[in-house]
Symmetry: C2
Subunit: 120 residues, 2 copies
Amino acid sequence: MRVGNLKVKMQLLCGDEIAFGPGKADLLEAIDREGSISGAGRALGMSYRRAWLLVDAMRRCWSEPLVDTLAGGGKERGARVTEHGRAVLRAYRALEGEVAELAIGSVLIEGVRDTPLPLT
Amino acid sequence: MRVGNLKVKMQLLCGDEIAFGPGKADLLEAIDREGSISGAGRALGMSYRRAWLLVDAMRRCWSEPLVDTLAGGGKERGARVTEHGRAVLRAYRALEGEVAELAIGSVLIEGVRDTPLPLT
C-alpha cells in the first residue's frame, strides 16, 4: 500500500509461508469479482499456477478456509471467497487504512526530495 | 518490524530510491553507537561498501543531512547522526510502534496456524 511517498507492506506469517499479504488480498478481491481462480489470475495478469499456489498457501496457513473451490472432472469449476475470507480481507484493508492515516499525520513524510540527487 | 505473526515493512520513497526504511534505521542507530560508517557496518555484519551506499542514498534523498561525515586524507575519520537524522529516526520508530499497537488490536492476527499444513 502506498500513501504519498510512504510504502507499507503488511504480511501475516505462518512459519515460513505468507498466510496473507498484499498479493493475496488482491487475489481474494479478484476471485470475489471473477468467480474462479483462473479468472482472478487472468484479471491480475498472473499465471493460473501462481494464483493457485497463493490459494493453496492460504488453505495450508489458515485453520478455516478463506476460499472454497468447486473442483470437477480435473477442471476447476469455480471458486468463492468464504465469510471468513471476507472478514480477513476487511480486517486487512481496515488495518491498511489505519496505518495510512497514522503515516499521513507523521512528520516522517516531510523533508524527502521528490527525486534523489544524482550519484556522484 | 515484527509483531507476533505480523511483519510490517515501511519504506519512505524518493523517486526510485529508498529514502528511509528498516535497514537505514538500523544503520543510523549503529552509526550513533559506533561513531563511524565502517564501525556501524561491522556491527551490523554489513560491508563498508553497502553501509556507505545506504548513507549516500540518504544524502541524495533528503533535503537536509541525516548523517555528517568527517572525511580526511582519503580515509573516513568518523560520522555522526545529525539532529535532523535523530528526528527522522524517532518519527520512524514511533510510527512503527503505533502500527504495532494497531496490529495487536486487530482480529487479523487470529486464525492463522503456527505452521502451514504440508504441501499436497
